[in-house]
Symmetry: D2
Subunit: 464 residues, 4 copies
């Protein structure tokens, strides 16, 4: 297949984000010689796929384009000769996320769907699936690029590259996009006049900012955004915007990302989440409701553009970033982007073969990150700790080993070590049994020996 | 001064541990050609120095030795031409430790006098003093060895070597001694027939064990000590012996140290500490009472040997280890010991120039650690995180920078990030004002702007 | 001084390259708001400064620009409030280079003015001077950028950044420019459509090439340039273009730079150089003659443009690269350039704090190199060896230590170890006595104890 | 098989060194509960095996021991249930070494049977054989230790551990033994009172020396051994003892090994070797004559002890070191030895997974090297270069790839790069055709296309 008649595949095509993706392609119609768009989903997502698929077709038609939009449950058919494959699926749908959050919160512990207890379980459910997709890709489209924005994007991308061996994988996230906009806004300078360099791992990165006169403006931005006189503020819909402690950020000398709140002001974030939980309004529950409303909108046969309401969804910009990444690879645009990619020494503090989230131009042969070097000790130690947790989580996801899973829970800074770690692990294993075949044996053991755990989970799930 | 007529100096000579030290020297009288022992203390410790000094003299006399035992408050006089200087002082005495523990526990947070909030404050109080001692040593005894067993021994030793530039420093701890005894006992094998290799940092190390047939016995020991059928057990007086989670330790593949309980089973340790706090029996309070009883015993003019009760004190074996270290340097004995020493790549996961706690023979030119290499990811990430915290704590201790101190509190895994970190920091700064001249400005600011903090601390101190 | 009325200073302004520099500024007149150009030289270069300075003035006038061109022997006056300082001086002028080459060649050993015996002596002469310039800059223009293209550019830049502490230094070389042109030509593709990544150290780097379809073309280029059927060919005037061994380059998997001939086909290069030496046509002698002709041309009061003959000089593109670098910093152009800059882990095989030559955009705050990672073993070992030699040479240049200098000679792969290394070192010390004050004591010793060495050097210099 | 009735196997049992090995076992009869000694050789070595085997039996009998000595050409039978396997074979016998030396020397280039052109060819011949032995061991004696003293011992050991996966391999060399004796002698101190630490790779290591008072004596030893007033001297029979340059060694700050002469004073070593070559007395030729005399002696049915003449052979102490290593493993003696073993960060400048030669106790589970850290730049660069050459050589030996072989020749510091490297490679491939099956295709090509090379080699071999 020629790269002049592109076939683009989206796994998890029934997602509510798909309209943003379609909009992104339409916006870049001059850069993307698309022939076919394939939206793939599984049986359980069939209805959503049909709704959103129909809307995608309307959008393409409204734009006056002759692109074919295919809807299918047959992943291998979709992957055949694909040029780009993007992944935005959610194993177990939003109900799984609700469990990821509510089980820990029922014990007063953060769920946190990316790097907390919830995120680890999302990794457990997702990593075997992504490795399965790669097996199919090896056969059906060995030259395709894999653009992952399935969370936890860092761990999923690391699994794809390091364990799946799919070097042409890039992971994406919308968090940096917001921070760059914020920097430009606060400095009163057009974004393209700034040079912003990010480094870290997914949902755990810092950035520094320079202006076109060559001055570093990081310190000034810390004052402007987190200074004592500033109000708490956040561009992220997904997370509560409690204020950081100014002196700590000042000492850091780099700008944190929004998700650093879970580590730097764990206290406040936990309090807020517990409050949401008690009101039955965990983030997952809110998102589920939003999504239901979105699908109602999508059903409207007259709707042929991305509705404004999608921006409430939290992951806004993700899909647009994916389109830009694809356009940049396709055209060697060298757009400066922040992607999850192989480390190869970009951050010398982290393993050479792990995946990091860093800045650099996206060329036709993939991301070429700017070198970062090493972090100051306080940031270095924290991110090294997180990477150790990620590697252990990935190992558990692949092997289904209970000890590895408990290890990951024990060392995760968002999960209290000890009995609580074990309790959460056991309960979440039960709650997600349907999507964790690799842990079947451990789940069986828990069911046989811990009837009170079984009961607790059942009760909690009822109250959802 | 010839090394055939040794002058040995102990800073903090009025400590209740001194009799163990004296006993250790007496036991090694054939290896240590001692001429003078100098016990140094400060004005506030004068009474204790006199009591324990008199007893030290009785012990020496009872052993039929002609060693001179000098008691002094003049540190520089004591240091003049010294061969070995050991440090076992406690800035602010046990009352400071009580504050270290009670302030955090009053908020339901672990104090933990070595690596928790308490340990960080002990570092803040101690590091400027150790650097002052080194300044004196440069002038008075430029060739002496500094043997540190003042806690937090890892951070204090790192400050001495890296920031004080005193290369001839070795840090000591009694924890490995207990673990080695335990391994021998559990395996039913004489300790000298085992090869035990430790690596990590002070109060945060792991070990592996081999027998003389060349078999690694680590895994078997994990079963014997932490197996599901085993009862909780600990050789450490200082910390509560709640059981580890077997599956997690099994996955680790190395033997943890007792202090790992604070990280691996934080939950249980916290619950236990809160309980002690509520009964007014924090470890510091218990130790203070023990110490009072010890000094009553020491006053007995007939007591000329180390009383059995000292073993209740918690730090048993520390002083004997110090004597063995000195004897091993003095005689090139090459005793296999676990010491805090310069990393230089022994553990490749940690900075080249930091201090680590590792195994190896102690030669006449100091410790020669066995190479360790790198840790598996779960252990690697955790210890890298701790080292980042240690480095930040040391920086705060030296500069008195409030932001650095808050950073250290924020990233310490035993301290919840956010408002709690700041609260504890502010309260502990107030509580320890007398011993934190480097933080004078910040303390002044807190006093001026946070009257409720002042009041809280005052109230809490009263209830001590 | 505002960056809107630039003051640009060139140390070694009397160089024959100056017209290219002036031409480069004129070409970029829209990007460079120049107010003053200062050409600085020393007493010995006064005549050349006047000739080339007059010509520079004519060139500026002919371009209709109102830039002031100042000629001075007073370096500090020139540096006052400078924005950019470029260095292109040659301590001892071309006569020194003649000695650098002829002394080794008289023994049948390569001189090689960049990394061989000659290059080490050029470093010995130049590094103290660059450190002196930096001392002046600290006082006179603390915010200026230092653009170095004085050879050996890698070592001089490392000395400036690491030992002089002048972080705003970038080193430049024309070698990569030629290789990029060559790649484009051989592939029949416009240069701007290729992505070319260089890594290594000055005159010792490799590169890889990708096209805009995302395909790596390195291997194909090896065939096209070095394949068995291809004729030897080189774009470099400075060095003889003997053919590489195809199988070796093929195994390497990267494109070498022209200077790799001195290491990969040492034999042929040596034979060719010896031949030149015997004809009295060493590269330095040829260049000296070329330069004399150039200055004759420059004297022509009607010449107001860069004469074509300058391209014979060998260093063509150097000065234009310097102008582009300045323009890119000034305007945040982010031109993709190859510069000598701090490593900071860009190449993980080399020390973090050394200087490397790598690719990346030049921003307003300096170069932002793309991460490179590590080399395959064969390339890794070779470049690590070269870096060890560079570091030792720099140490010798700064300390004037004879042992360090002998060490550098001993480990340089272009100098046979043993008696020959010592002989060359001693002879070159004598030959360059006037410009090596730091080695005064060693030179005195040689003169006193080795009359035959003195005689040999005197004889050889006569025959020049 | 119990470790109480040891079976020890020697591959290359027909070697002239075998009597030293047998003597070594006899000396340690109390430490080694030997039941069977198996001497294995190949058909071509059958006669030597019988001569030396008969003598080995006489030695055992004379010692009054009931050990069984088996002679066999069946390697697998010998390996069955072995406890220790030592390797001292020479593929192609001494005639191969003669070629290794004479081919390069005929062009005025060092052969150097360990790390020069000759050493690389010895690696090409030996590595496939050692990997074959390991294949057999996996099946026949999966728990045995492999003690390698086949040269080039570093590369062969690296191949065994890293490529063969046989972790229980230790490489041995006699060079450090001589240096330790020399240090003791020069200082007038018993060897056991010194602490000597070696680091590097086989035949390319440095050492530092401390006395029992804790003073480093390295610098003093440099003066005593290499000082200007000292005569050249060497304890090594194998290499010419030309003097190092004192200032260079002094600058190094470590003691070199004898083989460093080939790098530090390449000139003198080459001159000496060329002289030997011209007299028909290359080291290999001398050794061959010595060996012939030894076998005449060994035939004497009354000789039942190691004859003094064996010490002329050059490799004295090798075999005794092997016996000590085995005894130290067997009894957990923890003898301080210098062995080739996995790096694992012992020397941080070299790859984690390579093999290095370092000091440390040999325990029952193998060597436990002391950490070394990093080298000063001059030594660091040189050894990194050598390791890159070693890795490339091993790759060529395993793959039989001509490009890799040419790469290794090109980057070896003892081989001039370019045409000479290719000439030597081609000639040595032809000369060793019988033992290089992996290079069969390249050899065929050379024979077909380079008749003059074929002729040259044939002529040269005749003149042997």
């Amino acid at each position: 297949m020629s790269r002049n008649a592109l076939k683009i595949v989206t796994i998890g095509g029934g997602s509510s984000y798909t309209p943003e993706l379609i909009e992104g392609y339409i916006k870049r119609q001059d850069q993307l010689p698309i022939k076919e768009i394939w939206l793939v989903d599984i049986e359980a997502g069939k209805e959503k796929l049909e709704i959103v698929g129909a809307m995608a077709k309307r959008m393409v038609a409204a734009a006056g384009l002759d692109w074919e939009v295919h809807l299918t449950l047959d992943r291998r058919e979709a992957l055949k000769d694909a040029d780009y494959v993007s992944t935005q699926f959610r194993v177990g749908l939003l109900d799984a996320r609700i469990k990821d959050e509510r089980v820990p919160l029922s014990h007063g512990v953060l769920g946190q769907e990316t790097n907390g207890a919830g995120g680890m379980f999302k990794a457990f459910r997702t990593i075997p699936v992504i490795l399965g997709i790669i097996k199919d890709m090896e056969e059906m489209c060995p030259n395709a690029w894999l653009v992952n924005f399935t969370n936890p994007a860092g761990m999923v991308t690391e699994a794809a590259i390091k364990h799946g061996g799919w070097k042409k994988t890039a992971g994406l996230c919308n968090v940096p996009i917001g921070h760059s906009k914020q920097a430009a806004e606060k400095l009163g300078v057009p974004e393209e006049e700034l040079f912003i360099k990010y480094a870290g791992i997914n949902h755990f990165h810092w950035h520094r900012v320079w202006d076109k006169e060559g001055n570093e403006r990081t310190d000034e931005l810390i004052d402007l955004i987190y200074g004592p006189q500033e109000e708490a503020d956040s561009h992220l819909k997904n997370i509560h915007s409690a204020p950081f402690h100014y002196e700590q950020i000042k000492d850091l000398g780099m700008l944190p990302c929004g998700y650093h709140r879970y580590y730097y002001i764990e206290d406040e974030m936990l309090a807020h989440s517990v409050e949401e939980f008690e009101k039955g309004e965990t983030r997952a529950q809110v998102v589920k409701a939003t999504e239901a409303r979105l699908f109602e909108l999508y059903k409207d046969p007259k709707l042929d553009y991305k509705p404004k309401e999608l921006e409430q969804r939290g992951g806004t910009h993700y899909s647009d970033a994916a389109c830009e990444l694809i356009a940049s690879i396709q055209n060697d645009k060298r757009t400066d982007m922040v992607v999850s990619t192989e480390n190869n020494g970009t951050i010398v503090d982290l393993p050479y073969d792990c995946v990091v989230e860093v800045s650099g131009p996206v060329t036709s042969h993939g991301p070429e990150p700017y070198n970062w070097g090493s972090f100051p000790p306080a940031a270095r130690g924290l991110i090294q700790g997180m990477k150790g947790m990620e590697e252990t989580t990935i190992r558990a996801a692949i092997t289904g080993d209970y000890g590895a899973a408990l290890q990951a829970f024990t060392i995760n800074p968002l999960v209290p070590g000890g009995t609580m770690a074990k309790t959460l692990l056991d309960e979440l294993l039960l709650a997600h049994e349907a999507h964790l075949p690799q842990f079947a044996e451990s789940i069986k053991r828990i069911k046989e020996t811990q009837p009170e755990t079984v009961e607790y989970v059942e009760e909690l799930m009822k109250s959802n």
